[in-house]
C-alpha cells in the first residue's frame, strides 16, 4: 500500500491560496473552518517564503495519541482520519498537533467547540465510500475514486505535492537537483520523522 504524504516546495509556493479554495470547493467547507491555509514567513523581506499547511497525516499522529475518545484511525494508505460521531470536541488534538490542523466549528455559547474538522486528504470518513452521508460530514472521497487531494492537484505552481511519499520525494529530489537548491520539505521531519535526502 502507498504511504500518502504531502510535500510543500516552498521555493514554488506563491501564496495564491488555490489549495485553500480548492479544498473549500471540493469539500464544501463552511466559512470559518480552514482545513488548509497558507502562512507567509518573513513577510516583506528578502527570503520571504509562503507555506501551505494542512494536516500532514503524520506517522504516529499526535492527535490520535492524545485523543481521549480514540476517534482517530489510520487508513491503509496511512491517511489519518477521524470519526466525527465519536469526537467530543475537547480540543486536545489541537494542543498536540504541530501544524494547527484541527478546526472546530463554534457551537453554543462561550467558545464551546463542536466536533473537530480537519483535512481528510480528500479521503472522506468512516462511512461507505462516496455516499451522501460521508460527503455531508467529511467532504469528498477522491481517494476512493483513484484521485489525489484537489488542493495539490490544483496547486498553481505545483508547489504542493500529494501522493505516495516515495514518489513525491523523488519528484522533489529531481527538482532540487535541477535547480541546485532545496526548500526544506516543510514539516516532513515533524510529521514523518524523516526528510528528503538529496
Amino acid at each position: 500500500m502507498a504511504r500518502m504524504k504531502f510535500l510543500l516546495d516552498a521555493e514554488r509556493c506563491i501564496e495564491c491560496n488555490a489549495c485553500v479554495t480548492a479544498c473549500k470547493n471540493e469539500n464544501e467547507v463552511p466559512w470559518g473552518i480552514n482545513r488548509r491555509r497558507v502562512v507567509t514567513i518573513n513577510d516583506g523581506k528578502p527570503g520571504e517564503r509562503s507555506i501551505s499547511m494542512a494536516c500532514m497525516h503524520c506517522t504516529d499522529a499526535p492527535c490520535a495519541a492524545v485523543c481521549p475518545v480514540s476517534c482517530f484511525y489510520t487508513t491503509a494508505d496511512a491517511i489519518v482520519l477521524h470519526d466525527k460521531d465519536l469526537c467530543i470536541g475537547c480540543g486536545y488534538c489541537f494542543y498536540a498537533c504541530p501544524f494547527g490542523a484541527p478546526q472546530y466549528p463554534r457551537v453554543g455559547n462561550f467558545g464551546s467547540r463542536g466536533k473537530m474538522d480537519k483535512c481528510t486528504y480528500c479521503a472522506g470518513g468512516p462511512q461507505a465510500d462516496n455516499t451522501e452521508a460521508e460527503y455531508i460530514q467529511y467532504g469528498a472521497n477522491r481517494i476512493a475514486e483513484g484521485k489525489l487531494p484537489l488542493c495539490a492537484e490544483m496547486c498553481s505552481t505545483k508547489a504542493l505535492l500529494a501522493g505516495d511519499g516515495e514518489i513525491i520525494a523523488q519528484i522533489y529530489r529531481e527538482r532540487v537537483q535541477k535547480r541546485g537548491y532545496g526548500s526544506g520539505a516543510w514539516g516532513w521531519r515533524t510529521a514523518y520523522r524523516e526528510t528528503v535526502a538529496i
Binding site: C19, E28, E48, Y73, A140
Partner: protein, 973 residues
C-alpha cells in the same frame, strides 16, 4: 485495521444517515436554485453565515448513481486563460476537476479559479431585474425593465443626441459579446463605448502598437519557460496571474534563469526573484534609460538587430546619455552597481524577456513607459524569438479579446480606426450601407471622433456643457460587466452618477455602480449570467482563442450578453416606433446572425467577425477550429504550444493565437510568437509591421536585410494592397472570385479590407507577411514624446524635480479638457501635507472591482478587510500598530473626509510609500453602504475603495488613469 465504518460497524444509525435521507436521489436544477435562492435571502450579514460543519444540501455532493457530464469552459478571472472542467448533473454544477489537458494551466488554478464553481451557486448573485423607486429596489420583469429603459434612452436620444449615452462594455464578455456590444454602440450612433482595457493596458496597446505594429503580448506564458533572463517590471504575476508563475518558475529552475523584479513594492513575485530592485514609484523611464546607459556605454547592444530592424535608435541614445548613474540614482533611488548588473544580465544572458503589467501602464506617462520598455527590448535584440519579447500580462479574462474586437472609443473592431475607410469596411461586413451607418450619428464627423473614455465619463456628466465637445453632456449610461470602483477620483464619480438621468447596470452582481451614488429613481439592474453559463470564445493574454461551452443554463432570471442585447435592441425599436422615430436597431444590427433560444448564437457572431477581422488575423479562428482545439488540448506541446504530429491539430498552435491569417479554410496555424523571422509566415512567422509608411525624412522605415523565413522578398516591403500586387506582378494570382470581390469593393483594396482574403493568400504564397516588413520604431514621431522622456508624476513628493522633469502642459483630448502642468505646479503646496506616496494593486483572492469575487464566500473569507500597507518606520512615527484601524486621506478628498482601513505594517513597501489593494468597495468615506444593495445580493466583504483616495492624472495618449503614484496622509484612527 479499521478503515471503513461500513466494514466494521455496519448498521450503526447516526445523524449522518438521517441527512442522507433528506436529499436522496440527488438534486435537480429547480430544487437547487430554490435552495440557493433561499439561503441567499437569508444571509444578509457575515455573522449569519452558518458555522457548523453541517452543510446545506444545496451545493450537493456528486451522486455517483447518476450520469456526470464533463464540460470545459475558461476561467473568467484573469488573462492566463485556465481551462475549467466542470462536472454537471441534472443541470447543476456539482464538482470541479483539474483540467490536466490544457497546455496553459495543466490542471492547476489559483484561488479564484479553484473557487469558480461558487459563481454559479449564486448566493449573492443578482437574481432578477430590479429598479429603484424612491430609493428602494423593486423587482420587475425583463420586458418591463427593457421597455422602460428603452423609452428613457429614446428620450435622451431625442433631446441630446446619441452621444449623450455612454455604453460601458466589459473585458469579461466573450469576444462575441464584446464585439456585439461595440457593434451595438455603432448602430446606436456613438463612439462613447469603452471597457476595462482603458484602465488596464490601453497605454500598452498604444505604446507597443506604435513601436512594432500590434499592441499585444509578443510571446506566451508557456514560451517564458525558455527564457534565460526575465525582468518583471511593474507587475506582480504571483498574485495577478498565479498560474503564469508555474511557467516562470519552471523556466527559472530548468534554465537557471535570472528572474529580476523591478518594483517599488517587494511583492509575492519579488520573494521568488533572484534579484529585486526597489525603485521610487513613477520612475520607470529613468530606470530603463539608466540600464540602456550601461548597455550603450559598454557596447552590449545588439548592433545587427538595430541596423536591420529598428528605426530611430540614435534618438534614443541622445536621451539616454542624460541618464548617467548619478542622475538615475538621484531620481529613482537605484544604486549604480545594481542597475549595471541588471543591465548586463539582460543584455548578455539571452533570450531575455520583459514582463509588465499595470505597474507600468497606469501612469500619466504610461504610453511612454511602455515605449521605453520596447526600446530596451529592441536595443538588446530581444524581440521575435523564443524566450524573449514583450510579455505583457493582460488583466481580465478577455481584455485582450475585447480590445481586439474594438470595444473602445478610438476604433472600430480590430484596430481599423474610425476613419471613413474603417466605417466602409465594417459596413460591408455588417451588410449595411455606409450612409445608413453615418445617419445613426449626430454627424459623420462625430462618427470619426474618438469618444469619451471610461476614466472620464463622470467629467462628461459634470463639466459645463461647453467644455464637452459633443452636442450635450452625458445623460444616460448603460454598463455591462464593469465595476464602479475601478476609476480614480471616486468622490467625483459618485457625483457624476448621481446626476445621470438614467443608469442601467447589466451584470451578474449589482456592482458598485448600483450603490455608490444615492440615486432615487431611473436606476435599473439587469441580471446577466457569467461566461460559464453561455458559450463563446475568449482570447487569453498570449492571443490564443479558447472556446467555452455552456456549463449550466443561466441561473435565476439572468440572461447572457447576446440575448440581453438582442432583446434590448428590440425594446429600443418598439420605443422608437412609439415615438414615430425612424431609428431601428434590432432588425439591422442582428440581421447577420442566427437567432437561437438564447439569443443570437455565438458561433454566428464569431463567423461574422472572422469575415471582417483581417487586420489582426482574427479571420482564421472559426468556431469549428476553436472547438477542435478544446477537444484536443492534450495534443499540444507544453513549450511550443504546437499540435503534435498525427493528431487532428497537428502543426497548429494552441488556440490559433492571432494573427491567424486568411480564412479558416487556409488553415493558418496561428502565430505563437509575433515578429519571429525564423519561421515561414504560413508557419506562424512574421516581421515588424509596416504601419507608418515607407520612409520618413529620407530614412527608410522598411527592414534592411531582415525577412521572415522563406520570403521571396529578401528585404523590407510595404503592406500588401492591390497596387503592390500589381507592381510585383502577382495580381493575377488572385482567383476570379477574389478579383470579383475586390471589384465589388471598388476595385482597390488592402490586405486588411479585402473581404476575399485573396491579397493575404497571395502574399503568404510568396512567403510574405501581408502587413509588410518594416522596422520597429524607437522614435514614434506621432506621440507626444516621440522618444520617452521622464516626467514626474503630477502628485509627486519630489517637488525639487518638477522644474527639470515637468509633466505635459494642459491640453484637450477625447472631447474633454486634460490638466497637466497647471495641476503639477500646485504640488509644492500640496506635498508637505500629504507626505506618503500611495500606490495600488491586486490581491490574488479578488479580481477587478472585486464585486463578484467578494460575493464568493470561499474567496471572501480569505480577505475580509480593506487595508493599507505601511512601512514600519512610517507606522512607528504615526503610532500605528499592525492590524489597527487607520484613516487615509488623499489631496483631492473633501477636507473632513477620510477612508478607514486596517494597517498592515510591513516592509513590502519602502519608507514613505503606502500601498492599497483596489478590489474593495461598499464603504465610502466611512459610510457603510451595505443597506443600499438589493436585499440578499450584497457582497460578503465590503471595504473602502482605494480610488476614493486616488487623484487626477491621465496619460495623454489614451487617458489611462494614474493609480500608481499619488500622495496621501495616514494617521491612527
Amino acid at each position: 485495521m479499521l478503515i471503513k465504518r461500513s466494514e466494521a460497524r455496519a448498521g450503526k444509525q447516526r445523524l449522518a444517515a438521517a441527512y442522507a435521507g433528506l436529499s436522496a436521489g440527488g438534486l435537480d436544477r429547480r430544487a437547487f436554485l430554490k435552495q440557493a435562492g433561499l439561503t441567499g435571502v437569508g444571509l444578509s450579514a457575515l455573522g449569519a453565515i452558518p458555522l457548523t460543519t453541517v452543510r446545506p444540501a444545496a451545493a450537493g455532493p456528486t451522486n455517483f448513481a447518476q450520469p456526470i457530464t464533463r464540460i470545459k469552459n475558461i476561467c473568467t478571472h484573469c488573462s492566463v486563460g485556465c481551462t475549467v472542467t466542470a462536472e454537471v448533473q441534472n443541470g447543476v454544477w456539482v464538482g470541479q476537476e483539474p483540467s490536466w489537458d490544457s497546455p496553459i494551466n495543466r490542471g492547476t488554478h489559483c484561488a479564484k479559479g479553484a473557487a469558480i464553481r461558487e459563481l454559479v451557486h449564486g448566493d449573492r448573485r443578482l437574481k432578477y431585474p430590479m429598479k429603484k423607486v424612491n430609493g428602494q429596489w423593486q423587482r420587475i420583469d425583463w420586458d418591463t425593465a427593457l421597455n422602460e429603459i428603452a423609452d428613457k434612452l429614446m428620450a435622451i436620444r431625442q433631446a441630446s443626441g446619441p452621444d449623450a449615452v455612454f455604453w460601458l462594455g466589459s473585458a469579461k464578455q466573450s469576444n462575441e459579446g464584446a464585439y456585439l456590444m461595440r457593434k451595438f454602440a455603432a448602430f446606436w450612433g456613438t463612439n462613447n463605448v469603452d471597457h476595462q482595457a482603458r484602465i488596464c493596458h490601453s497605454t500598452t496597446v498604444a505604446g507597443v502598437a506604435n513601436t512594432w505594429g500590434y499592441g499585444a503580448m509578443t510571446n506566451s506564458y508557456n514560451d517564458i519557460r525558455t527564457s534565460k533572463t526575465m525582468i518583471i517590471m511593474g507587475g506582480n504575476p504571483a498574485e495577478a496571474h498565479p498560474v503564469s508563475l508555474q511557467h516562470l518558475l519552471s523556466g527559472k529552475e530548468m534554465n537557471r534563469a535570472n528572474m529580476i523584479v523591478i518594483d517599488p513594492r517587494f511583492t509575492r513575485t519579488a520573494a521568488h526573484a533572484t534579484e529585486y530592485v526597489r525603485i521610487r514609484p513613477g520612475t520607470d523611464i529613468p530606470v530603463i534609460w539608466g540600464m540602456l546607459w550601461h548597455i550603450f556605454q559598454n557596447g552590449w547592444e545588439d548592433k545587427d538587430f538595430i541596423r536591420q530592424r529598428v528605426y530611430g535608435m540614435d534618438d534614443v541614445r541622445t536621451e539616454v546619455a542624460k541618464w548617467n548613474p548619478q542622475e538615475v540614482e538621484r531620481v529613482t533611488g537605484v544604486p549604480e552597481a545594481q542597475l549595471r548588473k541588471v543591465a548586463e544580465t539582460f543584455a548578455k544572458e539571452k533570450p531575455a524577456t520583459l514582463i509588465w503589467c499595470m505597474g507600468a501602464t497606469q501612469h500619466s506617462v504610461g504610453t511612454a513607459n511602455v515605449r521605453a520598455f520596447c526600446t530596451l527590448l529592441l536595443a538588446t535584440g530581444n524581440v521575435g524569438g523564443n524566450g524573449n519579447g514583450a510579455n505583457i500580462f493582460r488583466g481580465h479574462c478577455n481584455v485582450q479579446g475585447a480590445t481586439d474586437v474594438g470595444l473602445d472609443v478610438v476604433t472600430l473592431p480590430h484596430y481599423y480606426g474610425l476613419d471613413a475607410n474603417a466605417w466602409r469596411h465594417w459596413s460591408r461586413v455588417w451588410e449595411v450601407s455606409y450612409e445608413s451607418m453615418m445617419a445613426r450619428f449626430d454627424s459623420p464627423q462625430m462618427a470619426e471622433t474618438p469618444g469619451i473614455p471610461s476614466t472620464r465619463y463622470f467629467d462628461a456628466v459634470l463639466l459645463p456643457k461647453d467644455q464637452v465637445q459633443q452636442r450635450d453632456n452625458l445623460k444616460g449610461m448603460v454598463v455591462f460587466g464593469h465595476g464602479g470602483n475601478t476609476v480614480t477620483r471616486m468622490p467625483e464619480v459618485a457625483r457624476g452618477l448621481e446626476k445621470l438621468d438614467l443608469l442601467v447596470v447589466a451584470d451578474p452582481v449589482p456592482t458598485t455602480f448600483a450603490v455608490l451614488a444615492n440615486r432615487q429613481d431611473n436606476t435599473y439592474l439587469l441580471p446577466i449570467c457569467t461566461q460559464l453559463e453561455c458559450t463563446g470564445s475568449r482570447t487569453a493574454s498570449n492571443r490564443s482563442l479558447q472556446w467555452g461551452e455552456q456549463i449550466v443554463k443561466p441561473i435565476f432570471e439572468s440572461k447572457n450578453d447576446y440575448e440581453a442585447m438582442y432583446r434590448f435592441a428590440g425594446a429600443l425599436d418598439r420605443a422608437a416606433e412609439r415615438r414615430n422615430m425612424a431609428f431601428r436597431l434590432q432588425a439591422e444590427c442582428f440581421k447577420t446572425y442566427e437567432i437561437g433560444p438564447e439569443g443570437p448564437t455565438s458561433e454566428s457572431i464569431l463567423k461574422e467577425m472572422n469575415r471582417g477581422a483581417l487586420s489582426t488575423g482574427y479571420s482564421g479562428q472559426s468556431p469549428e477550429r476553436l472547438k477542435l482545439h478544446m477537444a484536443n488540448q492534450e495534443h499540444f506541446d507544453l513549450v511550443t504550444l504546437r499540435g503534435k504530429e498525427g493528431t487532428p491539430v497537428a502543426g497548429e498552435f494552441y488556440g490559433l493565437p492571432w494573427p491567424c491569417w486568411g480564412t479558416p479554410e487556409m488553415k493558418h496555424p496561428g502565430t505563437h510568437i509575433l515578429y519571429n523571422t525564423n519561421l515561414h509566415v504560413k508557419e506562424g512567422g512574421g516581421t515588424f509591421r509596416a504601419r507608418f509608411g515607407v520612409e520618413r525624412n529620407g530614412v527608410s522605415l522598411l527592414a534592411e536585410g531582415s525577412y521572415s523565413k522563406g520570403s521571396e522578398l529578401t528585404d523590407g516591403y510595404p503592406e500588401f494592397t492591390t497596387a503592390v500586387l500589381q507592381r510585383l506582378g502577382w495580381y493575377d494570382q488572385l482567383t476570379e472570385a477574389e478579383k470579383a470581390q475586390i471589384a465589388r469593393q471598388g476595385g482597390t483594396a488592402s490586405w486588411a479590407t479585402d473581404l476575399s482574403a485573396g491579397i493575404i493568400r497571395v502574399a503568404m504564397e510568396h512567403g510574405c507577411v501581408p502587413y509588410g516588413n518594416a522596422k520597429a520604431r524607437a522614435n514614434a514621431w506621432n506621440l507626444p514624446d516621440p522618444v520617452p522622456v521622464h516626467r514626474e508624476p503630477i502628485y509627486t513628493p519630489r517637488t525639487d524635480l518638477i522644474a527639470q522633469y515637468p509633466t505635459l502642459p494642459d491640453r484637450r483630448a477625447f472631447r474633454l479638457p486634460h490638466l497637466g502642468q497647471s495641476l503639477q505646479n500646485r504640488m509644492p503646496q500640496v506635498a508637505p501635507n500629504f507626505p506618503i506616496i500611495l500606490s495600488s494593486g491586486r490581491l490574488v483572492e479578488y479580481e477587478g472591482g472585486g464585486e463578484e469575487t467578494r460575493s464568493n464566500k470561499w474567496l471572501a473569507e480569505l480577505q475580509q478587510d480593506m487595508f493599507v500597507e505601511i512601512n514600519p518606520r512610517d507606522a512607528a512615527a504615526r503610532n500605528i500598530r499592525d492590524g489597527a484601524w487607520v484613516l487615509v486621506q488623499g489631496p483631492e478628498m473633501p477636507r473632513d473626509k477620510q477612508v478607514r482601513v486596517k494597517a498592515l505594517v510591513t516592509e513590502r513597501v519602502g519608507p514613505g510609500v503606502a500601498w492599497m489593494p483596489f478590489h474593495f468597495a461598499g464603504w465610502f468615506m466611512q459610510e457603510d453602504q451595505r443597506s443600499r444593495y438589493p436585499q440578499g445580493s450584497d457582497p460578503y466583504v465590503l471595504g473602502e475603495s482605494v480610488n476614493t483616495v486616488t487623484t487626477y492624472g491621465y496619460d495623454p495618449v489614451t487617458f489611462m488613469q494614474e493609480t500608481k503614484v499619488t500622495l496621501c496622509q495616514i494617521r491612527a484612527a
